[in-house]
Amino acid sequence: MKPIRRTTTWLGVLLLAVAIFSRLTAHAWGDDAPKPDPADTATGNASDVQDASGTHFVVTAPADLGADDAKDPQKAKTYAEAKKAYDEYLAQMKAEPLAVKLADGVGHNRVAINFMWTLVTGFLVMFMQAGFALVETGLCRAKNAAHTMSMNLLIYPLGMLGFYVCGFAFMFGGLGPIATMGGYGGLNHEFTINLFGKPFGLCGLTGFFLKGSSYDASVFALFLFQMVFMDTTATIPTGACAERWKFSSFCLYGAFVGSVMYPFFGNWVWGGGWLAMLGQNFGLGHGHVDFAGSSVVHMTGGVIGLIWAWLLGPRYGKFNKDGSVNPMPAHNVVFAILGTFILAFGWFGFNPGSTLAGTDLRIAVVATNTMLASATGAMSSCLYMWWFKTKKPDPTMMCNGMLAGLVAITAPCAFVGSGGACIIGLVAGILVVESVFFWDKRGIDDPVGAISVHGVNGAWGCLSIGLFADGTYGDGWNGVAGTVKGLFYGGGISQFWAELIGVTTNFVVIGLTTAIVFKIVSLLSGGTQRPEEAIEIEGVDIPEMGVHGYHGFVMDKEVETPHPRGYPSAANSKSAVSAH
């Protein structure tokens, strides 16, 4: 049986197994399983109403005081105050029944605003797929345009379906109540182990195929929002591995990324897993904090890109025997810059949307910080190249710089002030330039700078929380009281350690997982994921896709294809390429 048919059969078997498993776990685990609300007939009521400082309209009855606690004067006092407030509330309810009914409407509207916000910002992030496609294709060569664009097109459904089958469940299955969207608690099973006497959440186990107790409007909104974030991760390695990747191998990668490569680290940071709990469990600040995904989304994508590009090998002709680089200039800077603006626009969904609440007015600060970091990132890359490196303002580096600033601000955007945002972006712009040179020196071919933009600056973004978080936001984050504060604002070094642990974990775990999945995909691809060298030289559009990117255009393929120098003879040029 041909390798692709065999692969598809195995994937079909796997899918069947997951479907059966999910059918068995379709109901929320636990005895009083919350009731899902797929048509929003009951989501949002008086209990969702809060004022600006977060005080809830509905006062809940205080938990009964046990005999021991009643002897403690402090606890008894607190209980008495809470009981008094509750009794007052009950009296007011009786006196003004219309106000109670009105509160239900207000609560529904509040939740509706949050739904709207989450969905619309999710739509903006989906549009970033177009940005990635244009940036990557513009920075690659014309003869491979159809292939590069197609990878960026198909990663959208491939990643989404993997996330739908099991990725979302692994990542958010144990999230608990979705507070901003009505408090539905059907995602209520987190697989947890005990280490050092503390609970370590490892992955979620509800939400497969969005069935049963997951068929709830708020879960669907969360799924859509989180799925477009996952697809951002998924599309980053297509840039790092462009122009020398068999389309069939890319498709296999696509099947794995949304389903198993992305969700576990994501669960540990956003799904209530152990990295988020470093604060509660070990007193390390608020645990690993990552507001919109510098580590969860961008660093993960960058590390996958790094390992995959490294194992896949460089493009034919990129490196000479002595390690010097033969540049393959961008075929369309117009696309690259247009794509960068589309990404910057989409980032207005990426960062502010991560409040999951249009009623959390910190979104204004988040959006402005995002914008400022993109500006300083672009400026510092531009000036760094212009004044200190090549003496020309390189447009491709300006693009990378703007994106690096955006990646770096993604984690800290809610927790820093404008000054911090500017500095974070400025550092990112210089870091990305040096990083591009660094990987070139190490023989790792990254046609679009994806590893430098997303991997390196994703790490920087998280670490910068530990330095620049100014304590104006984040009270109660990851269950730790108090706002998030970094080293430069009197928060001590513990937040920085939590970020460092998270970043290191990402590098190690995602790195190892990627290496394993790479090997599996290579096996399923009949031994190698690269097209034959002659095909790579000719351009992969027709051989891999059957279609020209620019049918009817005369392309100067000789100019587009440097030949590696320093090897004994042209026939030996295979040694220029490391095939794994």
Binding site: V325, P327, P329, D394, T396, F437, G449, V559
Partner: protein, 112 residues
């Protein structure tokens, strides 16, 4: 009958065409080519790494004309295409054996 193949800098094409029209030459074939002579290429830099651009874009003008007009044409091309800087180009003169106008079937001098 002679054929001129003139390699000139691309931005000179319009001037050369007008100068030739003034001396009565109203037909030509033009192609975009690339090449180098003693001008050599130049070094560009992309994202920190250098690469050599050996071939520079030029325009090739092909004209078939009668022997009387040959010297005038060479003078017209040379005067308009010259910039004085390296890379101005070259003119090649070839012998032509036969010329045919497809529409009418005319041959020889009448077809030029």
């Amino acid at each position: 009958m002679k054929k001129i193949e003139a390699i000139v800098k691309p931005f000179k094409l319009e001037e050369v065409k007008e100068a030739l029209a003034e001396i009565g030459i109203e037909g030509m074939t033009v192609t975009e080519v690339k090449g180098f002579g003693r001008q050599k290429g130049q070094t560009e830099i992309y994202r920190g790494s250098e690469y050599a651009v050996d071939f520079l874009p030029k325009i090739k003008i092909e004209i078939v004309l009668s022997d009387e007009k040959l010297d005038h044409a060479i003078e017209a091309i040379t005067n308009t295409a010259r910039t004085g800087k390296i890379g101005d180009g070259k003119i090649f003169v070839l012998l032509v054996e036969e010329v045919v106008r497809i529409r009418t079937g005319e041959r020889g001098g009448a077809a030029v």
